[in-house]
């Protein structure tokens, strides 16, 4: 027995916070991998630079506090997330700068893991976007299509369907869906599986959803925040999304707007970061509502292409307030007479 005695409880439940971070890395990898399939080796290079820069910046920042934190998985996750948020066409100094800013400025200067008030990966991406806006809206070629703009950068009619999309839709229309009276529009299959320009890890809806389900099942992330976030956004996009085009209320395209940008990636893999999300389920719902509203406003009335990341960062700023509003109710009451 050592001089320092252990204390109760003598058992622990569930996985450690490091295991949670590594689980999150594994859940995000399939989506990042799909980006590499779609965009080729260049995407892998962007991801690798982002992860390497995050690790290097984390190592430097932690070393200044005489700590070693690279094995806890959080730096790898943040680096991977930064890479996933970036398009494959960016010069390589962009992922390096974004990930470095995320780890060194946003995370380490505030004291490292658990002390940062902004989501590091989102802050890094937004900072890079403000510095180098050009590459973010650049056309990108996929394995199946020639260079084209990301869906949200141009009008809906500018979407061009890939040969895969045409083939699959043709088969679906001829067979399964004709009886149901449904005719998917050109490009809808591309949007669903992720054959389009955009962030490397934001493309594939099934892979993002599967990863998020594993996160929820392993209790790495709670469902309240992303579900409220996406539902709020989808509702607003449906009710008010048609107004800018003059189509009136309830004429929006919620499915298009859910799948076209970085929304799913941000809501499922960035907003769920425990450090920068509320403590209680009630707080998570408030956060989700706020982020959903802001993401809607920024997408339909903003100047930046991509609202969700900024929406989450704005809600991050409101986090202390949300946590204060949603403190748990004490069983014995807030004021309790002293037992004297």
């Amino acid at each position: 027995m050592g001089s320092e005695l252990p204390a109760a409880p003598f058992a622990r439940e569930g996985s450690s916070s490091a295991a949670m971070a590594w689980t999150a890395v594994l859940c995000l990898l399939p989506s990042a991998g799909w980006g590499v399939v779609v965009f080729g080796a260049r995407a892998a290079l962007v991801l690798a630079v982002a992860v390497a820069a995050a690790l290097a910046a984390e190592a430097v920042g932690a070393a200044l506090r005489r700590e070693f934190t690279l094995t806890d998985g959080t730096a790898v996750y943040s680096g991977l997330l930064v890479g996933c948020l970036l398009p494959p066409t960016v010069p390589l100094y962009v992922p390096a700068a974004a990930a470095g800013f995320a780890m060194l400025v946003v995370k380490q200067t505030f004291g490292g893991l658990g002390r940062n008030w902004m989501n590091p990966a989102l802050a890094g991406m937004v900072a890079a976007r403000l510095c180098w806006p050009g590459p973010f809206a650049a056309p990108a070629a996929t394995f199946w299509t020639a260079a084209s703009l990301p869906p949200l950068a141009g009008p809906l009619s500018a979407l061009r369907a890939s040969p895969v999309d045409a083939a699959v839709r043709g088969w679906l229309n001829a067979g399964v869906l004709s009886g149901a009276g449904m005719r998917p529009t050109p490009g809808s299959f591309d949007l669903l599986v992720g054959i389009r320009a955009g962030g490397i890890g934001e493309l594939s809806v099934p892979l993002l959803a599967a990863g998020a389900l594993v996160l929820a099942a392993r209790r790495v992330a709670r469902w309240h925040l992303p579900v409220t976030f996406l539902a709020t956004f989808a509702l607003l996009a449906w009710v008010f999304g048609g107004l800018p085009a003059g189509a009136g209320f309830f004429a929006g395209l919620p499915l298009y707007h859910l799948t076209a940008g970085s929304l799913l990636l941000v809501a499922l893999f960035a907003a769920t970061d425990p450090v920068t999300s509320p403590l209680t389920a009630g707080g998570q719902v408030i956060f989700g509502l706020g982020a959903g509203c802001l993401a809607f406003l920024l997408r339909f009335h903003g100047t930046l292409l991509d609202g969700p990341a900024l929406a989450v960062l704005l809600m991050n700023a409101a986090l202390p307030l949300i946590d204060r509003w949603t403190r748990p109710k004490r069983l014995l009451g807030a004021t309790r007479g002293s037992p004297s």
Binding site: L5, A11, R330, L331
Partner: protein, 446 residues
């Protein structure tokens, strides 16, 4: 009519550790060759020693007389001779005087036939005096001398007697074993306590859903005694046995506020553990002082974990042989349960009146307990806290030396149940930190 009820929020369901088969009967532990009897085995003042080194003692003889208003007599659990007077650990780990007795001479009680004392004709004061004389201490959370809880002050009424037979710690099964083997005796002890409290009805026996199979045996015992005692089955969610959470389960959220951590709540409930009522039965009916109790001796280093009837003062090391010896060298000894027990200084510490369990931890378990990482704000400790506190926030306040703020935020509500630390993915010693803070100590070194 049985129905599963529980407390309104929080709690955890830890997996069972080193479970003892329910079919396994309670066996007597070997009589120790040398017993270490601490003079404080209850919450309150230590008893005053009435024996000297060299004195002969007989089984059940008073070696420490209650001294002060919150004290209880301490009896010798074995016959023999006082070998020395030492400092030993009391029930809370503080140092206190202890009488060391070397076994010798004849057993005055053990192995002999006992006469049953009729008690129905005795007055409540005579019965209370018998309980006091036997040194009965509540083995449940309060650890108070039982005669204090049972003595109704003038002008006050006992509203109800709740017999706490709930057990939810994943390592303990001593209460379950007692309920299984002694339903008739517990019911009789409850009737005696009802008489002392002046209750003709309004007593409840609460047990956890895991022991729901024992309800018929208790119903039979209550029927044959013609007593007015109800039975309630509550959840086995940890820490359901805490008296306030038990009241919350029985009567709803508001009832918890009346409970307090003492055996008697402000609203007149008297909450005593089932083992205490069994001790009341033995004290009154068998004229037997409280010198032994059922203790769960368990942990992976032990070959055969068991529920043992142990004479108080038996060093923990002596119990190892009764459990088939060691399979591996233990890393630490815990008195109490897996969730809220306390590490003992060594295997030489004695079992006392309030010891419910002796838990040997493997070296691997001890190592796994170390290594805290930064709080990631996941909110799991808030979800797990049955008191609705924010453990991580309280811990951070205490860590910065802001104990007054922590008190405003409810630090005093904390019962150190361990749920927060149990669920913490960063493995922060939240429960230990809050315990230190409650006792006004700094958080250095954890």
């Amino acid at each position: 009519m049985t129905q599963t009820r529980t407390f309104p929020r929080g709690g955890v369901r830890p997996a069972q550790t080193a479970a003892i088969p329910r079919s396994e009967p309670v066996t007597n532990a070997t009589v120790p060759a040398r017993a270490v009897v601490p003079l404080r085995q209850h919450a309150g003042e230590a008893a005053q020693r009435v024996v000297q080194v060299g004195d002969g003692v007989v089984e059940g003889m008073v070696v420490g007389k209650a001294f002060g208003p919150h004290s209880a007599h301490v009896h010798s659990s074995i016959p023999g001779r006082v070998a020395e007077i030492i400092r030993a650990e009391d029930h809370s780990g503080e140092a206190c005087e202890a009488v060391v007795i070397d076994l010798g001479g004849e057993f005055a009680r053990s192995g002999r036939s006992t006469t049953v004392r009729p008690w129905e004709a005795s007055s409540r004061f005579e019965l209370l005096a018998l309980v006091q004389a036997a040194g009965v201490v509540d083995r449940g959370g309060s650890r108070e001398p039982a005669h204090l809880a049972l003595a109704v002050p003038p002008g006050r009424e006992a509203g109800r007697l709740v017999v706490n037979g709930v057990e939810s710690d994943p390592a303990l099964s001593c209460t379950s074993a007692l309920l299984r083997e002694k339903p008739r005796e517990i019911v009789e002890g409850t009737r005696i306590a009802m008489k002392i409290l002046g209750l003709s009805a309004g007593a409840l026996i609460a047990m956890s859903e895991a022991d729901a199979g024992l309800v018929p045996a208790f119903e039979r015992a209550i029927d044959s005694a013609g007593a007015q005692i109800g039975i309630r089955v509550v959840s086995a969610r940890y820490p359901q046995e805490h008296s306030q959470l038990l009241l919350a389960a029985l009567d709803g959220r508001a009832a918890a506020r009346g409970g307090g951590s003492r055996a008697r709540g402000t609203s007149g409930e008297v909450i005593l553990s089932a083992a205490t009522l069994f001790a009341v039965y033995e004290a009154v009916v068998l004229a037997k002082p409280l010198t032994e109790g059922i203790v769960t001796v368990t942990g992976s280093p032990l070959a055969v974990p068991r529920n043992l009837k142990v004479r108080f003062g038996t060093p923990v090391a002596d119990l190892v042989d009764d459990c088939g010896g060691l399979r591996e060298e233990p890393g630490a000894v815990v008195l109490g349960g897996l969730m809220s027990g306390r590490v003992a200084a060594s295997l030489r510490v004695p079992v006392t009146k309030t010891t419910t369990g002796v838990l040997l931890l493997s070296r691997k378990q001890v190592c796994a307990a170390a290594g805290a990482r930064p709080c990631i704000g996941c909110g799991r400790c808030l979800e797990a806290c049955p008191w609705g506190l924010e453990p991580a926030r309280l811990y951070k306040l205490l860590d910065r030396g802001m104990a007054d703020e922590a008190r405003v935020e409810g630090l005093e509500d904390c019962s150190v149940c361990g749920c927060c630390a149990f669920v913490c993915p960063s493995r922060i010693a939240l429960a230990q930190g809050l315990d230190l803070g409650r006792r006004g100590r700094p958080l250095d070194g954890i």
